[in-house]
Amino acid sequence: MLQVSVYRYNPETDEAPSMKDFEIDTQGKDLMVLDVLHLVKEKDSSMTYRRSCREGVCGSDGMNMNGKNGLACITPLSEVVKNGKLILRPLPGLPVIRDLVVDMSLFYEQYERIQPYLINDTPAPAIERLQSPEDRDKLDGLYECILCACCSTACPSFWWNPDKFVGPSGLLQAYRFLIDSRDTATRERLSELDDPFSVFRCRGIMNCVSVCPKGLNPTRAIGHIRDMLLSNAT
């Protein structure tokens, strides 16, 4: 039997959030945390969480499992359960809508701010804009981000200033477009980031790296952005 303790909060009926305990029979299998949540939902259908692809592609089921952010669908129990107990909480730092569902607006606003699309003011060629294999390689480790928000919500700098600090996820994406050889707005993008908050609130504690379910390294990307800002400055 697995002891599962889940964060419950329904703002329409509850005055304050609380933890609710469930006894779940895993039949000795090393289930994924998302499977355990399905078993919880069978016991209590009011249990609310986000999920979609259930294979680590969509990024819907980011949550805090025994203190560490991750995707429930690709996190096996053997990786997180300690002393037969599993504690599930919503991603930290964002407003809770209900149970494990958080309001990601702040996260998306930061994503929108870095203009996550190719900007190129040169006339479009008849075929697609070409890129050398070497330039394409520079996007590896950047484009894979699925915006699950595990990293940004594990970042204290993002907790304190979610309206000003872009956060690890947004900055990884920012670098993905800064380094793209087909993008011509590098200078404009950099000038948007040169304030004490957007990039420089990063203290390099690498929480983002330790939780990223896709194994990406936002801290390194942030370091690259800093280097670009430095070499562009006088």
């Binding site: 700098s157 040169d194 304030d195 004490p196 908050f197 957007s198 420089f200 800093r226 430095l230 400055a233």
Partner: protein, 115 residues
């Protein structure tokens, strides 16, 4: 771009660079002072005074003092913008820190040139 009016250099990059440069200066000064204490067998008032009577030592000390003030301002400004969400409280804190640092610098100059 997040607008800011109270940070040291009004730019994150400049603050970041300043924080590192001042750290190196403070490290150099600390190492020098530790070296001085370890390397001086007969540490009395005269040795101490003659060290600080050299113009180079006054320049070095003033540089370290200004670095300390800049370093402390950038650091405490960051702390205040992280943890003090009320603008009034934050501005009062920043004013107190600025005043204290200013007083330390003036006091330090008085000490250095008063030897």
């Amino acid at each position: 771009m997040v607008t800011n009016i109270t940070s040291f250099g009004r730019s994150g990059l400049s603050d970041w660079l300043m924080q590192r440069v001042t750290a190196v200066i403070l490290l150099a000064y600390t190492l020098f002072m530790v070296g001085f204490f370890l390397g001086t067998s007969n540490l009395d008032y005269l040795t101490w005074v003659s060290l600080f009577q050299g113009t180079w030592m006054r320049i070095f000390s003033l540089l370290a003092l200004l670095s300390l003030a800049a370093h402390a301002w950038i650091g405490l400004w960051t702390v205040s913008t992280d943890y003090m969400k009320s603008t009034g409280v934050r501005l009062v804190f920043q004013a107190v820190v600025a005043l204290a640092l200013f007083a330390y610098v003036v006091w330090g100059v008085q000490l250095l040139w008063g030897v």
